[in-house]
Symmetry: C2
Subunit: 480 residues, 2 copies
């Protein structure tokens, strides 16, 4: 409860409650494995348990903390649970929480260098560290955005700007422009579609290129599409291969695609939001061949580099392209140091930017390059181990290769005709049980189970547990 003045919580109160929150979180990290992965609440039940209006008077924070226990915790889906295997499981580490504590307390907005020098310079430093670890050339410079959706949207906007159509000033309405084209495979993330919607290109501008049996974009098909579009008078802008596609984590052949981009002067944006962190692992770097030829690359440390959400990195071979697309300095933002410093606001749509670099700095320093490599390597080992169980079982089959830590598979016991229904039932039953969380995709029309390995708490025993669950639910009769 706030004191009867106009100030903040008294510092001694902050200290006392802060220690209580730290202890609560420590307990949480310790017990999360015992909690149901997916929240078991009914839709609407949390809302119903909360008052319909804000309290008139302030409350003591002890009461708020008690409600976190009673009301919020049961409504949490535990992304840090070692058996969270859905979507891409993420790897946030507890040291990253410390970063967010400072970031929230400083409350800096990294618009101008001077409004947040620590943010501007630490961002440049840690992104250069990460660039080196990923084996990208020295001329790549990075910028931090919130999510890959926003990073990719900025990349496509820069590609649109480089086409010399002056869309920045003249826009795309009230004039005649050829149909602009973006190319990606059919297994990409929906954020690319959304970027095309947002940027006014429309979903029809996005041409999805055929893949081979391994779910990798076929360069010849890309080439044909570009030639066809050129012949039709359209204007190709940008190609977006993915390293670690959302469906199967397949790897598009970036090097071959780069040849085509060079030939037709197209922007090459590599989406490796999920898998990019794996580029720090020496034996996995071969998957990233061709990235050094990209115009831009997105990777999300908040996915698989032990960094709490959100922190997405866009590396550009020529970051000034981003500035050209977005810089716009209002009078109230003019400063005398413009020529000597890097002002974050010049590189995107957001004016204010959180001090996100701090948590990534904490993570890299605490684990060290070796510690980060060891953990990603272990996740990949566990995924391959699980895949080996699938391969050895007569009741299961693999449905895609495993280049990183995602396994696509399904149950296929003898005597069952409708495998889609079976696998959907297995997934729903396991998810509903709270024991583990799996998600799905469709591959060649088949309902496919996706197992992602990524929690920093995951151990071999968790995959054993999931394997036993899968076997049990495959054998069992459907529950009502």
């Amino acid at each position: 409860m706030a004191e009867n003045d106009f100030g903040d919580m008294p510092v001694e109160e902050f200290r006392r409650h802060g220690h209580a929150v730290v202890d609560w979180l420590a307990d949480y990290f310790e017990k999360v494995e015992t909690l149901p992965v997916l929240s078991q609440i009914e839709p609407g039940s949390l809302r119903k348990s909360l008052p319909e209006s804000a309290p008139e008077k302030g409350e003591d924070f002890d009461a708020v903390l008690a409600d976190v226990d009673k009301l919020i915790l049961p409504a949490v889906t535990h992304w840090i649970h070692p058996n969270f295997h859905g979507l891409f499981s993420t790897s946030a580490s507890s040291v990253g929480v410390f970063g967010e504590m400072f970031t929230a307390a400083f409350d800096m907005k990294g618009m101008l260098w001077r409004t947040a020098p620590a943010s501007a310079e630490l961002e440049d430093t840690v992104l250069d560290w990460l660039r080196q670890m990923m084996g990208l050339p020295a001329n790549f410079e990075g910028i931090i955005y919130d999510t890959a959706s926003v990073s990719t949207m900025h990349a496509i906007a820069a590609a649109r700007e480089r086409a010399n159509l002056n869309i920045r000033e003249q826009g795309m309405s009230g004039r005649s422009l050829p149909l602009l084209r973006i190319y990606c495979s059919e297994h990409v993330h929906s954020s690319i579609d959304k970027a095309c919607i947002t940027l006014g290109l429309g979903t029809r501008s996005l041409r999805k290129i055929e893949c081979n049996e391994g779910f990798e974009m076929i360069p010849e098909a890309l080439h044909e599409a570009i030639v066809e579009d050129l012949n039709a008078g359209h204007m190709p802008l940008c190609v977006i291969p993915t390293i670690g596609t959302t469906s199967t984590s397949s790897v598009d052949p970036v090097d071959a695609i780069a040849d085509i981009c060079e030939k037709y002067n197209l922007w090459l944006h590599v989406d490796t939001a999920f898998a990019g962190s794996a580029a720090i692992v020496p034996e996995l770097q071969h998957h990233f061949k061709g990235c050094e030829r990209a115009d831009s690359i997105v990777t999300n440390p908040h996915k698989w580099l032990f960094t709490p959400f959100d922190l997405s990195v866009l590396y550009c071979r020529d970051l000034s392209m981003m500035k050209q697309a977005f810089s716009l300095v209002a009078e109230y933002l003019k400063t005398s140091d413009e020529s000597t410093v890097k002002n974050g606001m010049d590189y995107g749509i957001q004016l204010g930017r959180r001090f996100r670099a701090l948590k990534l700095w904490f993570v890299i320093r605490y684990f060290g390059r070796e510690g980060l490599i060891a953990r990603i390597r272990e996740h990949c080992r566990l995924a391959r181990l699980f895949a080996s169980w699938v391969e050895a079982s007569p009741d299961f089959e693999m449905l895609a290769p495993v280049p990183f830590s995602l396994v696509c598979f399904r149950a296929r016991p003898t005597g069952v005709d409708d495998l889609d229904t079976l696998n959907e039932r297995i997934m729903n039953e396991i998810n509903a049980s709270g024991e583990a969380y799996l998600s799905h995709t469709k591959l060649h029309g088949k309902f496919t189970l996706r197992l992602s390995v990524g929690s920093i708490q995951v151990e071999e025993r968790h995959l054993r547990k999931l394997w036993n669950l899968l076997s049990a639910h495959t054998q069992a009769e459907p529950t009502a």
Copy 2:
């Protein structure tokens, strides 16, 4: 330093370091007033003090924490300092830090209801609380984005979609469309220009309408512009009045503008990113007349509602318009509960969304409606008090009205011809001293000092201090 295994920081270590971080922050809150407001470091000096590459081995967190003291703190510009009066000073409270601690530790991504039920339902709850406090009608539904730039971009995208040009699918290239038009005043935030760039409308689509002497959009001038555009075959889409403009915090006449929007069926988006929080103060609600007729309204609790950055709210009269513009459900995101729940990903470009509602819930509960009102009221009182000193002084003059907590003024001592140079010097000297931070704008061609009152720590004595500084620097000879 990470243990020699594959896991996270041991829980007892997290507890120990976490307590140390809390104590560090408590000390910081206590002493921030004694630190220079603007960081005094030279550009590049932090970067030079950091290693050029990531450490190979993990380090103990104690070493990292020591570097926060030694390297990071001097590079921080202290936004929470009570003499931060630049741009819009922001009001983050320490209880909000607790919210960010849970948010980072849970690491939930609010894409689907099921991936973060607590986030989805708490967001609906606190946004409804805030809606009631702001006096908005019950049919307004909110959604949280990161920044006002992103909120406003979504609003304009929805306006673009409502024009029935099918830009979502067909895009704006390779077809013939009339020139689309957006209207705002000349004193708006640069984010509106950037949204037009991003959305492919281009800066020429943005028509800036003339203001009266009080820096308020002239409705008749807006009407004339729309008629002129219609006669020229252009298509008006959206009008964006601001309540609390960035330059002077002036208030555009929303009610009169709403009449025009209704007549021509235009989307009415009200930008009240800064001042919106003041709508909870009964005697200030008259500034917000007409908001109930808006299609969308953006307000930023991270500016003036004691909530750490970032948390921007977009209220829509018909939130389904946003879903229509942006929803797109990939196979791997399909769930069986789609019809019964609200999936955050359907309302914008970002798929993953941080659990931002928690910190706002903490803030509202800890301070209560009365506590929040009292603090905003006090900031406005302090700003008017400062304005009264300006008005009473022969050496200073006011340059704009003070509807909220921003004062626009300048020094005007007798015998000085070049007032622009004088005021710029005064501002630069005060800012360089670290004693306080002011920013500027240009009004009617005059270099204008902007004093924003908003830190939760600000007291009358801080404004006294600034007033003394201003008087001293006005009298003083220029420093070299």
